[in-house]
């Protein structure tokens, strides 16, 4: 019953316009009190407006509550409007920073030059990552194993039954039922879709001919609105499979598949295996822009390949002087040790040590 209630709350929260907003059911989410050395409060009574990615909404909620519990006078208002809308608001100069699951296009970086003063431009600061789980509904089947080519074939309607030989080969010890597969994808534009299809494209280029995009490009299947919409459909449809952030699977008790990357044991989706993926990521941005490149086709053991990295978008120079101190103080905290430590409880993966060092250095240089 508690699960059901949780699912209803989740569905309710998401069926508004926030795709991924959800509660972590522990009262005031994670308002952690910590020693003053962990957080440097900005002085002055200011409100910081920010908006964007709903994939990082849960983390932002914890971070904002913790920051405000420790600092007087600084208020942060993060609206989980979705990455696209968040970037638009940032480019119009109405917000101090944007949360985004995807890199800005070159056109958007050009546009940012008119918002950032002092010849500044928008840069990406990676702040956290989340494993994208493959959730399924097959009563009696635990620990399903899938690999990239079969996932691509399932989501492109090339495999449409659970007792398909390709699936049986990956799961030799499991009696797969004679059921049709109903694959659910996002009906709304989404960074989760973008990262999931990037994985399919990189790890199974033959089986997934479509370019990665926020909009779904696969063939067939059903769709639903928001991650919680997908979870809801998986829960009520026997034979369903879909993709969503790990927290949605945990909160709703949905089984998640392990991924056979070709590196020995199949890898389960959890915070540790996702952190391992982040540790291997390369920084590909230039001039202090910290865009990360994940190796989706990785074959390393214990590395979960389907990971979504989400960024904060700020100006490298010429941030609005009124909000700059608060922006810097807040991002210093989120990239700080305490801020990163708070993530694991809510199914997000913290950044790896060398990347987080670069982020901290960059935050300090913001002007």
């Amino acid at each position: 019953m508690k699960l059901r209630l949780g699912a209803a709350v989740l569905a309710l929260s998401a069926l508004g316009l926030t795709a991924c907003g959800s509660d972590d059911n522990s009262g005031l989410p994670g308002a952690v009190r910590f020693s003053p050395k962990d957080v440097h409060c900005a002085s002055g009574d200011r409100t910081l407006l920010a908006s964007g990615s709903s994939a990082q909404a849960n983390a932002m909620e914890v971070w904002v509550n913790s920051y405000q519990a420790n600092c007087d006078g600084g208020r942060i208002n993060y609206k989980a409007t979705g990455s696209g809308a968040g970037v638009q608001e940032f480019l119009q100069g109405t917000t101090a920073f944007a949360g985004s699951d995807s890199e800005l296009s070159e056109g958007e970086i050009e546009e940012s030059r008119s918002v950032c003063q002092d010849e500044g431009r928008a840069i990406h600061l990676p702040m956290l990552a989340g494993p994208i789980a493959i959730g399924y509904n097959l009563p009696g089947v635990d620990g399903l194993v899938l690999d990239a080519p079969t996932l691509a074939a399932i989501f492109d309607s090339a495999i449409d039954r659970w007792d398909d030989p390709a699936l049986a080969r990956l799961n030799p010890d499991v009696a797969l039922p004679d059921l049709p597969i109903t694959a659910f994808h996002r009906s709304d534009g989404s960074g989760t879709t973008d990262n999931f299809t990037s994985y399919l494209r990189a790890a199974a280029p033959d089986a997934w001919p479509h370019e990665p995009d926020k909009a779904w490009r696969g063939r067939g299947g059903q769709s639903a609105d928001g991650s919680s919409g997908l979870v809801g459909q998986v829960q009520q449809t026997e034979g369903a499979i879909s993709y969503f952030e790990l927290s949605y699977a945990h909160q709703n008790g949905v089984d998640t598949a392990r991924i056979d990357t070709g590196g020995g044991q199949p890898v389960a989706a959890d915070v540790d295996t996702a952190s391992n993926a982040l540790a291997q990521a390369d920084v590909v941005g230039e001039d202090g822009d910290l865009v990360l490149d994940l190796d989706f086709a990785t074959r390393e053991p214990d590395v979960y390949p389907i990971v979504l990295v989400t960024y904060e978008i700020v100006c490298d120079r010429g941030n609005a002087p009124g909000t700059l101190p608060l922006t810097r103080a807040f991002l210093e905290y989120t990239a700080g040790e305490q801020g990163q430590r708070d993530l694991a409880d809510i199914d997000y993966a913290p950044l790896s040590p060398d990347i987080v060092e670069q982020v901290r250095a960059r935050v300090e240089e913001l002007s």
Partner: protein, 319 residues
């Protein structure tokens, strides 16, 4: 007001209240015009920007890829989905609503009628997201049986073919929309039925008409324009319904021959789904689709007015 009456009004003493009230009501009228014009101009300008950059055909392309470079998008699927789901809703809701309204106004004992009126009004007060949740979590899993039956006997038409996947189709949306527009149609037609002149009804009774004949000969002809305007109010709501559709439908940019198979999209649902991740071009494209919905609604209302104007002489009054 005729000119002589205006002059007469000028001659009478004006108190502050007169001036304030006339300014207020005139201001409200002007505000309405300004708001409508502002919406139309805003939609038209942004839509023009989007359509001029569209690499597909705005009317016939079966695709919505407005954030890509170059952008490709078209409203064919949206127009089809919106019209079809609304037509299904009307086909179900209008007869049922008329029946409920007749029951309340002419058949039910007074106390039952009052309870029924209350229930209908209550139905109108439920927010659409609640209908959406109910539709997605309760209605959809229970439609399979009906659709299997339709497929078995009418599947050969193509329209009612069903493949057994979750029933998140235009048909289910139409049924849900029918429930949602039922209260508004019912409450308006009920009021219209009640206004049928007693003398007409009593005259029919005096001629030996049964209750059904009274209704057929006096109530329905008198109320015809009222039923039409009530239906149009309902249709307006069905065309623009957003959250319930976005929750129940499994959107895709395809036109299915079968109404029972999942897929399709509507204007309002598509805007709600795509807006979050839309870039500036994507937004303008969505606004262009909004303009089409705006025009569609104007068209429907205009058509309704025409029909009502024609019927006016016949029924004696405009409801």
């Amino acid at each position: 007001m005729t000119r002589t009456a205006e002059r007469a009004a000028e001659r009478t003493a004006e108190r502050p209240g007169d001036r304030i009230f006339s300014a207020l009501s005139r201001g409200s009228g002007i505000a309405l015009l300004v708001i409508m014009a502002a919406i139309a101009v805003f939609l038209a300008i942004r839509a023009a920007i989007a359509i001029s950059r569209d690499e597909g055909n705005f009317l016939t392309t079966f695709e919505w890829d407005a954030n890509a470079d170059p952008p490709v998008f078209g409203i064919a699927v949206l127009l089809f989905g919106t019209v079809v789901s609304s037509v299904i809703a009307m086909a179900i809701a209008v007869p049922v609503a008329t029946g409920i309204a007749l029951f309340i106004s002419h058949y039910a004992p007074r106390r039952v009628a009052a309870t029924f009126s209350y229930l209908v009004d209550l139905l109108a007060a439920v927010p659409s997201i609640i209908y959406g949740l109910w539709g997605a979590l309760y209605l959809v899993p229970r439609m399979g049986g009906l659709y299997d039956w339709l497929d078995q006997f009418f599947g050969w038409t193509g329209i009612f073919a069903y493949d057994g996947t979750p029933a998140r189709s235009l048909m289910t949306v139409g049924i849900l929309l029918a429930i949602m527009i039922l209260p508004i149609i019912t409450s308006v037609t009920r009021e219209v039925f009640r206004q049928t002149p007693k003398s007409n009804q009593e005259a029919a009774l005096a001629l030996g008409a049964t209750r059904w004949e009274v209704i057929r000969m006096t109530v329905l002809p008198f109320s015809r324009s009222g039923i039409i305007s009530a239906s149009m109010l309902g249709l307006g709501r069905a065309l623009g319904e957003t959250m319930a559709v976005a929750t129940v439908l499994s959107p895709s940019f395809l036109i299915n021959a079968s109404l029972l198979e999942s897929g399709g999209a509507t204007f309002a649902q598509n805007i709600a789904s795509q807006f979050k991740e839309a870039g500036s071009m994507g937004r303008d494209a969505l606004i262009a689709s909004g303009l089409v919905l705006f025009l569609l609604t104007l068209l429907v209302n205009g058509a309704a007015r025409l029909i009502i104007a024609r019927r006016k002489e016949y029924s004696g009054t405009a409801a």
